[in-house]
Symmetry: C2
Subunit: 188 residues, 2 copies
DNA sequence: CGCTCGATGTCATTTAGTGCCATCACGTTA
DNA sequence: TAACGTGATGGCACTAAATGACATCGAGCG
């Protein structure tokens, strides 16, 4: 299997299969590499560590988010700009990807180690979003607060989207969550 | 040093010293145990893993938070109850503990591994806070959103408190951050 | 004194992760 | 066509985290 194309993709697919079959902790990196027809050493050339095989590509989400925030109308208040970013993210969560997203989410939910990694990825997204807000002239701590709040909205919307058997549109879920947050903040 | 009292405290002190001297990654568990006059095996009896030596005791913060939320006036809206919880937390961050908190925060900031652990501890606190809100009759997703927003406020307030050479009161910082969040949510 | 029990030590083992160098397949060039 | 260079992969050795099984120590108690 050496020299077959798409070694990284094969490793990702093998990892997903094995995590679903035996669980994350019961799967060794050597197992994954073997199923992909490669070796442990090669696995660590593509992924910084065992968890990363489930998270690679998250930079593209961050880029999409930041781009949408940057392009939002200059007059848009911080949370409105964040909403634009969230909707850009939503474009990645289509009906076709729902099955994969749900499987991946189930694996992550089964392991604290993986939850940690997910949290730091979301924190990185929040940091990038806060930087984009600052570039729009938003000061601190407003930028950090708005960015973190937006990521919270994203987490809530995403978990609802994943849990739903009949996935509704992601946009509607984010709008609902954001509205709820606004109501909470408006309460005396 | 075997049978000397407070093995756990000695391990924590040794770890903090070594992390400050050499950095977290350059310190092995064997190093810590040796300085504490114990062995690696004993370290892992007190702490689930190497990172946990910096985080043990966080359950007490969670308890204080939850207790304050539970005891808040029944009519208090969700974010007001969260504010009560945050102020209860603030009681733990006194001027005497400022030095320790700053050193600990600097160590955590130096290592992604430790940041991951901190994030999951905060997530656990948010989950407990959300459960406390639900017990007060708050529905979902409002409970999760309010709890996560409160933790965001806490993070902002805490980082400002730590960074400050002349530590102001923690209460004032949380109130400011919460007010900023309310303003953001109120913007069109 | 001898016993029991909790805390600690010792040893072996698995696995994640990394550095170093060898090897392979492929394209380029002479 | 043969030599060469290059990027991807394998092989091997090594460190350190983490865990299980079992031995040992020290203190209190009858």
């Amino acid at each position: 299997m050496r020299w077959l194309p798409d070694a990284m993709g094969r490793l990702q697919a093998a990892a997903l299969e094995l995590f679903l079959e035996r669980g994350y902790e019961a799967t060794t990196v050597a197992d994954i590499a073997e199923r992909a027809g490669l070796t442990k050493r090669t696995f660590f050339r593509y992924f910084a560590d065992k968890r990363e095989v489930l998270f690679i590509g998250s930079e593209r989400l961050v880029e999409a988010f930041v781009a949408a925030v940057t392009q939002a109308p200059a007059e848009a208040p911080p949370l409105a700009a964040m909403e634009a970013g969230l909707h850009a993210l939503g474009d990645s969560f289509t009906a076709e990807r729902h099955r994969f997203a749900a499987e991946r989410a189930a694996i992550i939910a089964s392991s604290p180690e993986l939850q940690e990694r997910e949290l730091i990825k979301l924190a990185a997204m929040a940091a990038a979003a806060a930087a984009a807000l600052r570039a729009r002239g938003v000061g601190e701590p407003a930028a950090t607060l708005a960015a973190d709040a937006a990521i919270t909205v994203f987490r809530v919307a995403f978990s609802r989207w994943v849990a739903d058997d009949r996935p509704e549109g992601f946009r509607a879920l984010t709008r609902e969550s954001l509205d709820t947050l606004r109501m909470l903040a408006a309460a005396p």
